[in-house]
């Protein structure tokens, strides 16, 4: 390794300088990109805007997960607590019982409990829910629209490009911030 020639040394020095400048430039550009807060905040989670959702069912089929990250949520403050819940019973349900032939949810993920006459409460058994939005359709078609889809941030893989967002016909899936990971239909659940 002969490093005696002054021209080689000078060349090496210049090359090193350029490399350092290049690295500094890269870091600088990176800093510039992250610091630029003129536009949107950092939206790095995916979520469904329930007011744009048309319950098409693509969430269930297009998520990269076998069991979609989209699950049904229930806005309890919007629910009518009906005996005849159109989000729970098939349109042509013969009887208002929990029999499988009357129940709308194909995976049996909705739990119906009697509260007091004439009210029934409906809760989602989320591990069973696959986000097909059938109940959402039934609820919105006749009722108050208290059933709606949200992306479960625990199930979500946080893909760089959400496959559901690509397949969504109404552009209802968008990026949200880590501070507001959900877009609940009845506003802030705490208040």
């Amino acid at each position: 390794m002969a490093e005696k020639s002054p021209t080689i040394n000078r060349r090496k020095f210049v090359a090193d300088g350029l490399r350092v400048a290049g690295a500094a430039g890269l870091f600088g550009a990176a800093g510039l990109l992250t610091m630029r807060r003129g536009g949107e905040p950092i939206n790095n989670l995916w979520q469904i805007d329930p007011n744009k959702c048309v319950a098409c069912g693509n969430c269930a089929t297009h998520c990269v997960l076998d069991k979609s990250a989209a699950v049904c949520k229930h806005a309890f403050r919007m629910c009518g607590y009906c005996n005849l819940c159109t989000g729970y019973f098939e349109p042509e349900a013969a009887e208002l019982t929990t029999g499988a032939e009357n129940v709308l949810c194909p995976t049996g993920a909705i739990v119906r409990t009697f509260v007091e006459d004439p009210y029934y409460e409906y809760t989602i058994d989320e591990p069973k829910c696959i986000g097909c939005a059938k109940c959402v359709k039934g609820c919105i078609a006749f009722g108050n629209g208290s059933l709606y889809l949200q992306i479960d941030q625990d199930r979500c893989m946080h893909c760089n490009e959400c496959a559901i967002a690509v397949a969504c016909p109404s552009e209802a899936v968008r990026r949200v911030t880590a501070e507001t990971p959900y877009l609940p239909k009845d506003g802030d659940p705490e208040s």
Binding site: H62, C79, L84, P91, P106, P118, I140, A141, S170
Partner: protein, 364 residues
């Protein structure tokens, strides 16, 4: 010898043989084929089995033989959020919406406009042209020149006024969906009674009202018809609050004779002979029942009211379910306020004689 590099080891790069090439070519073809499907984000790819479909289409179609009304006119209403319709003297059509009341003559010509400071929920107009306009929790009375003559408050906590109906002797019935009862005001604005509030001591529950649709109407017989939407029923009360239970009628079901969904009808209106016009949400349809509650005919079909097959969910603002409101004028024309089309649809009975005939044949 330990240091001899393993030149013919497993790791050394080798020359491909024919089978290897064939296998590679096959893999490349399959891989590119998979890419083709991978890049296709078209909706309903693969799709879900049929049991995941929610299909109301069969109920959206109505046997044309049952339709005995035809649309006579459409009066466009230039409001964004249409709420209520009522008929005043000379069959003037009053429409409430946004923060406005628009008044049209019977032919649909716009007569005047009244601006309000709040969003109206319901409306009734008496024979003198006084308008009773219900807001979320109070009532304003306007004279026929559009001047406010009174403001009626309610003392209750959770008021959601949804309907106003005018009775005999200056009674004003106001449906309060929030407190699940009908308030009876006298002409001075004093609450002189409550109807349909249930009777806990005798285990009579109040009406079931899951959504802000709770209508009231007064018939020529003086009885007050109160909708119990959660039980898909129309209930009869005397003005002083006695429940005429035997007269109640209505049943739940998707079929055209019944009231569909979880809570219907959303609106009622009475024809001169106390036959009942009903409006439903979900499967938007307007129908006529006999005073006793026998299904007679269809006025407006889901198709006419803008329901599209295969489209149960619509991205209306906030998914707010807008329902039609009804009124009947002195000629028994049925006025349907269609919030989707932003118009008043005017329906008249077609071939009155034929219709009567068939009805008589059907129910001798």
């Amino acid at each position: 010898m330990k240091l001899q590099p393993p030149t013919d080891s497993d790791e050394a790069v080798r020359k491909p043989n024919f089978w290897m090439m064939l296998l590679l070519a096959a893999l490349v073809v399959v891989g590119i084929g998979a890419l083709w499907f991978l890049g296709d984000p078209s909706p309903r790819r693969g799709g879900l089995p049929r049991r995941f479909d929610y299909n109301l289409d069969p109920y959206m179609k109505i046997d044309p033989a049952l339709v005995r009304y035809r649309q006579d006119a459409v009066v466009p209403v230039r409001l964004y959020d249409l709420r209520a319709i009522a008929v005043g003297p000379d069959d003037a059509i009053h429409v409430a919406g946004d923060r406005t009341i628009l008044v049209f003559d019977a032919q649909g010509k716009r007569l005047r406009r009244m601006d309000l400071t709040d969003a109206p929920r319901a409306l009734a107009v008496d024979a003198q042209g006084n308008s009773f306009v219900a807001f979320q929790n109070y009532l304003l009375v306007f004279n026929n020149r559009g001047e406010t003559t009174a403001q009626w408050e309610s003392s209750a906590r959770r008021d959601v006024f949804t309907s106003v109906a005018l009775g005999d002797n200056g009674d004003v019935f106001v449906a309060d969906a929030g407190n699940k009862c009908v308030l009876r005001y006298d002409r001075s604005g004093k609450i002189i009674g409550k109807l349909a509030q249930g009777d806990p001591r005798n285990h009579v529950p109040p009406p079931v009202i899951p959504s802000p649709y709770f209508d009231v109407a007064v018939g020529s017989d003086g009885l007050v018809r109160v909708v119990n939407p959660g039980r898909h029923r129309i209930e009869f009360f005397t003005p002083d609050g006695h429940h005429e239970t035997p007269l109640d009628w209505g049943s739940a079901g998707m079929d055209v004779e019944a009231f569909c969904g979880c809570c219907n009808p959303v609106a009622i209106a009475l024809l001169a002979d106390n036959r009942v016009v009903t409006a439903e949400k979900g499967i938007p349809r307007v129908k006529v029942y006999s005073p006793e509650g026998r299904f007679e005919s269809v006025v407006a079909t889901p198709e006419q009211l803008g329901a599209t097959p295969g489209r149960e969910v619509e991205t209306r603002e906030q998914h707010k379910l807008l329902a039609v409101d009804l009124a009947v004028d002195s000629q028994d024309r049925i006025l349907v306020l269609d919030p989707d089309a932003k118009a008043v649809r005017v329906f008249v009975e077609q071939n009155t004689k034929d219709a009567k005939d068939t009805k008589d044949v059907k129910n001798p």
